[in-house]
């Protein structure tokens, strides 16, 4: 690797570390309790958005069921919380693994499809989960397998080291960073190479010995895993989940915002999470109808599709690069 690209790589790593350090150390101190909750939610959705971004940037596949999978992760997390007295981390891991498995099963019929048809199938899956959640509700400590009671008799436990909202925000940031690092390690390694080859041409990938079906499933599974972690964290953050919070339309919105943020870059997922959760909260705060944010998101999506294929993250990245060149 030549010196310039090595330097660029290093400066990118430092920028990411600096960003995370500010989020973990400074943010929870300077914002008040309502914004801690909003930011926690934004951080959690960042990870799910990174899952969408992974599938789209690596394989060009559209996944419109990510919010439904967050719901699945949340449901399993709540179910485990009331069923077993295991540590939060273990429950989170099990929820994520089961969600990943469900994501993989749902991806099986989609393996031979691309583009609009795949998007439609994933949207139908999201619609299916919307109905299932309305029918069975989320566990809140009641009796039976479904565990639903009229009034919650139990409580969703948080990690021992992160009982308070502020601590839970820090905790969520660290878990999300670990999740993004897991996906980034995939991108840089053997799966990332195979995905890039499949995206270029499936025939070429097969000719190079890549098992195309396996690697596509792998990507779906990893994306589902990230959604599962998000769902588990969300259950911990809100302590109770509402079946109305996971409609199919939300998955479309999160996908659209991932495109606006910029796929293929962790910053794009951060921007998506911010737009998805923080912008409507800011509007509410200053007395504007939060639904107005949808109009802005729509305009931003048009802008991204027409002029910024790498999203806001791509624009910021080229801005910094050109500033760097000017300073030389």
């Amino acid at each position: 690797m030549d010196v310039i690209s090595h330097f660029r790589q290093e400066s990118r790593t430092y920028a990411a570390l600096g960003f995370v350090a500010i989020c973990v150390i400074v943010l929870p101190v300077v914002i008040d309790s309502i914004w801690v909750k909003v930011l926690t939610s934004a951080v959690i959705f960042t990870l799910a958005a990174y899952g969408i971004s992974l599938l789209y940037s690596q394989l060009g596949l559209v996944n419109l069921s990510q919010v439904a999978l967050i719901g699945v992760g949340g449901w399993i997390m709540l179910r485990l919380n009331y069923a077993v007295q295991l540590p939060f981390e273990l429950n989170l891991l099990v929820s994520a693994v089961i969600t990943a498995f469900i994501g993989m099963i749902l991806a099986l019929p989609a393996m031979r499809m691309k583009g609009l048809y795949l998007a439609l199938i994933t949207l139908m899956v999201a619609g299916g989960f919307q109905i299932i959640f309305s029918a069975i509700q989320f566990p809140n400590g009641g009796a039976g397998f479904l565990g639903v009671a009229l009034q919650s008799p139990g409580e969703m436990r948080r990690p021992l080291i992160a009982e308070s909202d502020t601590a839970y925000l820090r905790y969520s940031i660290i878990v999300v960073v670990l999740g993004v690092m897991l996906a980034a390690a995939h991108n840089r390694g053997r799966p990332g190479r195979a995905w890039a080859m499949i995206r270029k041409s499936e025939a070429n990938a097969m000719a190079a010995g890549v098992n195309v079906t396996l690697y596509k499933l792998w990507c779906f599974t990893l994306s589902g895993f990230l959604a599962g972690v998000s769902g588990g964290l969300l259950a911990g953050a809100l302590k109770i989940l509402d079946a109305k919070s996971f409609p199919a339309g939300e998955s479309i919105l999160l996908f659209a915002l991932s495109i606006v943020g910029g796929v293929g870059h962790w910053m794009g997922a951060v921007i998506a999470g911010f737009l998805y959760r923080v912008v409507p909260a800011i509007f509410n705060n200053i007395g504007i109808d939060a639904d107005l944010s949808l109009v802005i998101f729509g305009a931003a999506l048009l802008h991204a599709i027409m002029t910024a294929p790498n999203g806001i993250a791509g624009q910021l990245s080229s801005l910094f690069q050109s500033l760097g060149r000017q300073n030389k």
């Binding site: 195979a194 890039a196 025939a203 990938a205 000719a207 190079a208």
Partner: protein, 238 residues
């Protein structure tokens, strides 16, 4: 040795390959023929992208047609495509690594294999360059390096010389000519460039409308009247 017996492929009413039977023993064998003769179909059948209607392909006792395309690659069958296929967002080295990931034999020293093949195709100082910055010849060489890196048994090259300048074809000639000596693989080379075929292929097979109309030493085949007629047509005397 590649033993092809009674191989036929139909696309609807079109006969793409018509009862091809041939034993290919030589190190580098050329496949020529006019457009639409069935050359690429032959490569697609061998690499698993087209299922034949009938026939068998046997290589060293292995029934090639029974394997899925990616398993053929892992077994040792590498191929390039007419339109060069490098993943633009990967570096040259990563493009080549894909084959090492899937097809390297156990115990193979992968980094050594990568450096050897990069040296061989002349891309040693470009390992970390993203593929979108390469010129067409460098892309072609990257693809060839990917085909060769995991020590394949058979390499199928589908018009590797297409779109290259004369100097670049000279370089390609050297690269293809030494594959057997350096990597031990048998090569099947499709190309329209008769000079390239003449200089590297000891034997050549000629296809026309899906039929094998000639197979033998390249010089002899190129002088064959049937072959000339297939390429140039026959004179009609009035």
């Amino acid at each position: 040795m590649i033993r092809i017996s009674d191989l036929s492929v139909h696309f609807g009413g079109v006969v793409a390959l018509d009862n091809i039977t041939v034993d290919i023993k030589d190190d580098i064998v050329g496949v020529i023929g006019p457009n639409g003769a069935g050359k690429t179909t032959l490569v697609n059948v061998l690499s698993g992208f087209v299922l034949p209607d009938s026939g068998t392909v046997d290589v060293e006792g292995v029934d090639l047609l029974s394997l899925a395309p990616h398993k053929r690659a892992r077994w040792g069958l590498a191929r390039s495509f007419q339109k060069v296929q490098t993943a633009d967002n990967l570096t040259v080295a990563d493009n080549i690594w894909v084959s090492l990931d899937t097809s390297a034999s156990p115990g193979m020293k992968k980094h050594a294999a990568l450096n050897r093949v990069l040296d061989y195709v002349g891309l040693a100082d470009m390992a970390d360059v993203p593929a979108h910055k390469l010129n067409p010849c460098q892309r072609r060489m990257t693809e060839l390096a990917r085909c060769l890196v995991a020590s394949p048994r058979i390499v199928l090259l589908d018009e590797p010389g297409g779109g290259l300048s004369e100097m670049e074809v000279d370089k390609l000639r050297q690269v293809i000519g030494n594959i057997k000596t350096i990597f031990g693989a048998q090569v099947l080379l499709i190309d329209h460039d008769v000079e390239l075929i003449k200089s590297v292929c000891s034997k050549t097979m000629v296809l026309d409308f899906g039929e094998l109309i000639a197979f033998g030493p390249t010089e002899t085949v190129l002088q064959d009247e049937n072959v000339k007629a297939a390429y140039l047509g026959t004179e009609i005397k009035v």
